[in-house]
Amino acid sequence: MKIFAIYSSKGGVGKTAGAVNLSYSAAQCGHRVLLCDLDAQGAASFYFRVRPGKKFNGKKLLQGGLKKFIRASDYERLDLLPAHFSFRNLDLVLAKLEEERRRLALQKLFKPLADEYDVLIMDCPPNLTLLSENIILAADSVVTPVIPTTLSLVALKQLLKLFRKVGAKEKRINAYFSMVEPRKVMHRDMIAQYEQYAIFRKVQIPYLAEVEKMGLHRQPVAAVSPASIAAKQYTSLWLEIWNRSIGG
């Protein structure tokens, strides 16, 4: 099982849109996928029309037994671990653990899922906390959407710093340009300046009305219009990230 974290410390950069659509693409490619909605806002769960179970809580989650909270999506091979407000407490719970155990907490949590899923994708909240550290440690790959603006790049620099802090290898970062508007000069400039960096993937996700409308349809874009540009871009992006993750 490969673990992917869709993470950025900056809000509104397209993390959830990425997590939802990459999960769907992965399942379409034949992988058994679990999308973990780690954001207490539950946007990813909302897109899949899934509500959390009543007894869901973060403390219990860390003690294992995560399987019974999993719910099937409407799509083949794609399941969901829904969000819950008590994810907020995850940080507090983690803080109580000793350093060594904390590092491994998430990894231990996901281990029992390895025989059921090929791919685990985490939709992460936009912050820089203990939880973020743990997510980075647990993930095989950290996928980070970057809007081609100066402000967004700040978040990327923060991520690199965090990687150094926890001693994780930079190679595990997959950055991609998100919500790209080629008409904008700044976007073009920023991309030209940064696209050759090794952490950036080739495939970009343009700014597209179809993605914006996901909130209305409450379905992945490819489920509504499989032939759309957005659907194709997300699948290409998935394949690029996946191939890199198995190719080493």
Binding site: F48, R49, R51, A72, D74, R218
Partner: protein, 522 residues
């Protein structure tokens, strides 16, 4: 389809009404219709079915599934023929799975099933699917006969929505639908619709005798059973569907002859003499084709025994065998269509049915079980004596004799199995089988060697191709000889295992006990 729970829909129930009733709890969303049509194949004796395998062709593709419809391998291509053998499929997993079950039998189209599947999603207030329903209607056709299977609905659960699943199940049960708890198997349902009992064509011998049966009744029951097996295999032999028809036909003839010889003293001599002669004739006229079949089935095995340089020589040899088989089959067909054969089976039936009431036949009135006891212990002692007398210096003929004794003894136990404690008999037969296999291998190798040597001597005039054949045959003879010596070397050990104190005691226990199943009836 996997993981769905099947429910039978009563005929008078309207599916639309059913869906309307779920409407109070869920939104009903149609999500498409599919249809499928498959030709289902199995061997004459339903070997795949017995092994819980379902094999069908849809268009160009062949599907191998378990009884619940789960695919066991990726669908594969194969020829579109009325009759298929495992070797007609390309090398690969599909073929590997078919081979050990089907062996040399032909796969025949048994029936066609055509189905319509209608998928329906049940949605909650968020319009999230919580349960899926698949309605299935299947019709079938076998030759001219059409049939309809009872319609079903598969209830497919979605992870995390167990409560909703229970609600749907309750709704269905309240509406009069019943769950098929051991899973939905359309092939078994089609068999029922066509009144097919796969056991009817099974080649495994099994006859039910009542505990109190007399000798005459038991002989009648066993021989009538064997007679129907002969009849069952005639048309497949005539049509030359696969080599097993003739084989099974011959085995039932051999069994019949064996019973007549084992029970010689218990039968009316004059009446039986004629049939003994006739069954001997039947054994003889069916022999040549079977002998050739044995070699033809060994083609690959023989090739594998030889180094590549010599293998080409076998091609001509097998071509020649095929030609000879064609001629032999023609003759066999004449015999199987002859008045002599038809009369034999007719008269045999009349004779058997009248056997219990035959006048001046007091032996026939004896209780079969006590007679069986005596014959079994006599025969067992004879085998033990013969086997113990065999040493490394004993001529091969003694082993052949022991093999024949052993085979008769095995038939004997199988004939009367139902009069004894079956499990114990089966256990004993299992031990016997090891000995019989060794003796059988030894004999087969001897026979093959002889046949190949004869072929070698008849290769005239010597041409270049015949020379290659001669080299190949020579190579084979050496191989078979080595193998035969190895088998012989194992004999003593195998025999001692069979003649062990434990096995002798097992037989004593069998003879002392009564069979509970049959004795209940008395």
């Amino acid at each position: 389809m996997n993981g769905g729970q099947p429910f039978l829909i009563p005929r008078q129930l309207d599916v639309a009404d059913l869906l309307a009733s779920t409407g109070e709890l869920f939104t009903v969303q149609e999500s498409g219709e599919e249809s499928f049509k498959g030709i289902y194949y199995d061997t004459f004796d339903w070997r795949l079915f017995a092994a819980d395998l379902r094999f069908s062709r849809r268009g160009r593709l062949y599907f191998l599934q378990n009884r619940l419809g789960d695919s066991l391998v990726e669908a594969g291509v194969g020829p579109r023929r009325k009759k298929l053998f495992w070797w007609d499929f390309p090398e690969g997993e599909l073929r590997n799975l078919l081979l050990p079950v089907v062996e040399q039998r032909a796969l025949l189209p048994q029936f066609t099933l055509a189905g319509r599947m209608r998928r329906v999603n049940l949605l909650n207030k968020d319009e999230k699917t919580v349960v899926r329903l698949v309605f299935q209607e299947i019709t079938g056709q076998a030759q001219e006969q059409r049939f309809i299977l009872e319609p079903i609905v598969l209830v497919e659960p979605l992870r995390g929505y167990e409560k909703q699943l229970q609600q749907v199940r309750r709704l269905l049960e309240d509406a009069g639908l019943s769950e098929i708890t051991d899973g939905y198997d359309p092939v078994a349902m089609a068999q029922t619709a066509l009144s097919i009992d796969p056991r009817d064509t099974s080649s495994k011998f099994s006859v039910e005798l009542a505990y109190g049966e007399t000798v005459a009744e038991a002989v009648r029951d066993i021989c009538l059973h064997l007679r129907s097996t002969m009849l069952l295999n005639v048309s497949g032999t005539l049509e030359d569907i696969d080599s097993e028809f003739l084989h099974d036909l011959r085995v039932s003839v051999r069994r019949t002859r064996s019973l007549l010889s084992l029970m010689k003293k218990q039968l009316p001599v004059e009446g039986v003499k004629h049939f003994q002669a006739e069954f001997k004739w039947l054994g003889n006229v069916t022999g040549p084709v079977r002998d050739l079949d044995v070699y033809l089935l060994k083609e690959q095995e023989y090739r594998d025994l030889l180094p590549e340089e010599l293998q080409a020589g076998l091609t001509l040899f097998f071509k020649d065998l095929s030609r000879r088989r064609k001629r032999a089959l023609k003759k066999l067909r004449v015999h199987l269509r002859s008045a002599r054969f038809i009369k034999l089976l007719q008269n045999w039936e009349v004779f058997l049915r009248g056997l219990p009431e035959q006048p001046d036949y007091p032996q026939g009135k004896r209780r079969c079980r006590s007679v069986a006891d005596a014959i079994i212990s006599k025969r067992m002692n004879r085998i033990l004596r013969q086997g113990q007398a065999i040493t490394a210096e004993t001529p091969d003929e003694m082993l052949h004799e022991l093999r024949i004794e052993g085979k008769k003894f095995r038939y004997l136990l199988e004939f009367f199995r139902s009069l004894f404690e079956r499990d114990a008999v089966d256990e004993y037969l299992k031990h016997m089988k090891k000995l019989q296999n060794t003796l059988g291998d030894f004999n087969d190798l001897a026979v093959q060697k002889d046949m190949l040597s004869r072929q070698l001597q008849n290769l005239e005039p010597i041409t270049r191709t015949r020379l290659a054949t001669a080299a190949a045959l020579g190579g084979l003879i050496v191989q078979l000889h080595t193998h035969q010596r190895q088998v012989r070397g194992r004999f003593e050990e195998t025999f001692n295992a069979f003649a062990s104190e434990e096995n002798v005691q097992l037989m004593e226990k069998i003879l002392a006990g009564i069979d509970e199943e049959s004795s209940v009836e008395n």
